[in-house]
């Protein structure tokens, strides 16, 4: 399924927003002086009257988005993931989550693969933050095509959405226009020995690990959990029941992310051994690939976790 093609999810967002803007005049955008980086400038260039740059003033940006939403607009609020979640958190919580406002937050440059900019720019807690808001849709697409569809779904479905995007090009795992269904996990590869559950850039790593495992006779199911909230509990429980062992993989701190949500589901539904591939501390500046290696987020790390969980499975 992994092809050689790659796409930058934030660029796909910008292009999709531009297309949506042509289809629906109610779509507007607010930004925080990072519109080139998020590719929202594509929309702003075409629809300057529907685009409001607020400068680095993220609290204002989110509350303005709420005001626009309750006046019939569909605002896409875009900035880096750190500045679109933690910085204006209370504004999101009271103004968007508690009201169910029709605001779509796009957080680009998430995770440690933001790389050289260093820790202040590396969002490793945004999944925890956004999944702590009841009713907020939290989506972490795994590639370009899935991003395009998620952006379209966010525009179409009412209510608050958070989309977590990446700085770098990521391998294309999906055919165009395929697959993304809100709240539904996707089986990327079948297998009955264990399940690798991943989101975002770690889906490709999980697929790679699954191939390596297959070479040693271990058949891993790979589940792409692009919707973190609401979570597809049934798919996770099915994985626990049918494969009896789970590895989670995410570009996020160990607390409050995919791993802990999967653990909650299985502990409440069908206890099974889980191993987690995630971050255990803040990273640092460096080339993304170096950081992934140093902080344990490679396909090899997923594979090692798979072997650990297999030894636990029997017991």
């Amino acid at each position: 399924m992994v092809t050689r093609a790659a796409a930058v999810t934030r660029e796909v967002f910008g292009q999709t927003l531009l297309a949506l803007g042509k289809e629906n005049p109610d779509i507007v955008a607010v930004g925080g002086d990072l519109n080139v980086s998020t590719f929202a400038y594509l929309f702003g260039r075409e629809f300057p009257a529907r685009f409001f740059d607020l400068g680095p003033a993220e609290q204002n940006m989110m509350s303005i988005a709420a005001g626009l939403a309750f006046s019939g607009k569909i605002p896409f609020a875009n900035t880096f993931a750190v500045f679109g979640t933690g910085r204006p958190y209370d504004q999101i919580r009271v103004g968007i989550a508690q009201t169910g406002a029709n605001v779509k937050i796009i957080g680009s440059h998430s995770g440690i693969t933001v790389g050289e900019d260093g820790v202040s720019a590396q969002a490793i807690e945004d999944i925890a933050l956004m999944c702590a808001l009841p009713g907020f849709h939290v989506i972490v697409p795994s590639d370009g095509p899935e991003t395009a569809q998620a952006v379209r779904v966010a525009a179409k479905e009412r209510g608050p959405f958070y989309l977590r995007l990446s700085r770098l090009a990521t391998p294309v795992l999906h055919a165009d226009g395929s697959s993304f269904r809100l709240g539904r996990a996707e089986v990327m590869r079948q297998g009955l020995d264990l399940t690798l559950i991943a989101c975002g850039i770690m889906v490709a790593a999980a697929l790679e690990a699954a191939e390596t495992l297959a070479r040693t006779g271990v058949q891993a199911r790979v589940l792409n959990v692009a919707t973190l909230q609401p979570l597809d509990r049934e798919a996770i429980l099915q994985a626990a029941r049918e494969t009896g062992a789970i590895v989670t993989a995410e570009e996020h701190y160990i607390n409050g992310g995919l791993g802990s949500m999967v653990a909650s589901v299985v502990a409440q539904g069908y206890p099974a051994p889980v191993e987690m591939v995630a971050l255990h501390r803040y990273a640092e500046s460096g080339a993304p690939a170096q950081l992934l290696a140093k902080y344990g987020l490679t396909a090899a790390d997923v594979e090692r976790a798979a072997r650990r969980v297999m030894t636990r499975k029997g017991k």
């Binding site: 609290q59 989110m62 019939g72």
Partner: protein
């Protein structure tokens, strides 16, 4: 600009206030100043009643803002209580959401929902939440966390401009609230985008939660701050209806920049022991204090009883509470 027809769709803004009933949706348009003062008195009464019944809440800032809200809802806003979602309505956004008893009372008096709801304030299941929340008819924004309303108002006003609608957006802020940096982010952006359909009103009662603003965080020169952020500034007596209506009209006529009205008010206005008293920022009166307060606002036992009845209080409580009031 002054309009109180109940069908706001056909509303024209007329220059001078005439008259209205102080109860419910006005049957006759445009109250005069005396009538506005009467309305405000009734509003203060019901603020006190609802907070006392709740046993908690924020009387100080509700009483200081009462005249501002009465001026807006009876003379300035184009609105339709029977159709709160009317797309062309003027919007009043209460940013200082803890002072929702003022807003709730005004909305009930204008007929957005039954006055009897006021006695359910802060109770389980009531739509009158402890801090104003969307869903309640007439409430334009969910609040409770200070500093967010002006930004929200900028968004509302920008949407109106995009849609070619002529509605105006008003945001009522606390002075202590202006400590929040987000207020200045919003101010800067409103001037940048020349949102001249936006009017901010600062309830300048000189007290915040714990103490006086000059003790907690000096705001002066407040007018210079807003001016430097690109706003037209009008500073007035926030308890004077002529001054309020004049300033609100001037705001409507301002082009190319937003206007802020710094309304000098008295926190706890109308109740001697609440006036200028930080202790009553966020504390409900006892029933004994309520009785005294109602008297000071100028109500007799009989009038207070009638009001309590309208607010849905049970007979026993009416007798008990009004019984504590001085004779006559």
């Amino acid at each position: 600009m002054v309009s109180v027809t109940s069908d706001a769709r056909g509303a024209q803004r007329s220059p001078s206030p005439v008259k209205a009933s102080s109860h419910g949706t006005p049957t006759t348009p445009s109250p005069n100043y005396r009538q506005l003062r009467e309305i405000a008195r009734a509003v203060r009464r019901d603020i006190l009643l609802s907070i006392t019944e709740a046993g908690s809440g924020h009387p100080g800032g509700s009483l200081s803002e009462a005249d501002i809200l009465v001026a807006l809802y009876w003379c300035v806003l184009r609105h339709d209580p029977r159709n709160p979602a009317w797309g062309d309505r003027d919007r009043l956004i209460l940013s200082k959401g803890h002072a929702c008893p003022g807003l709730y009372t005004v909305l009930a008096h204008r007929g957005y929902f039954p006055k009897a709801d006021l006695s359910t304030f802060r109770k389980l299941g009531s739509h009158l939440q402890g801090h104003a929340k969307m869903g309640t008819p007439g409430v334009e924004m969910s609040s409770g966390s200070l500093g967010q309303g002006l930004s929200f108002g900028v968004g509302v006003a920008l949407a109106g401009r995009l849609d070619g609608r002529s509605y105006r957006t008003y945001v009522l802020l606390g002075d202590g609230e202006c400590d929040e940096g987000q207020v200045w982010e919003a101010a800067m952006s409103a001037a940048h985008y020349k949102v001249d359909t936006l009017t901010a009103i600062v309830d300048r009662n000189r007290i915040q939660n714990d103490r006086f603003t000059r003790e907690v965080m000096e705001l002066e020169p407040l007018d210079a701050k807003w001016r430097a952020f690109g706003w037209r500034v009008l500073e007035i007596d926030g308890h004077s209806f002529p001054a309020l209506l004049r300033a609100l009209r001037q705001a409507q006529e301002t082009e190319g920049q937003p206007t802020v009205i710094i309304a000098r008010t008295t926190k706890g206005k109308g109740v001697s022991f609440m006036e200028n008293n930080p202790a009553f920022h966020g504390r409900a009166p006892t029933k004994e204090q309520l009785a005294q307060a109602l008297g000071e606002v100028g109500f007799s036992r009989a009038e207070a009883s009638a009001a309590m009845k309208e607010l849905g209080f049970p007979e026993a409580k009416i007798a008990e509470w009004t019984g504590l009031m001085p004779e006559g």
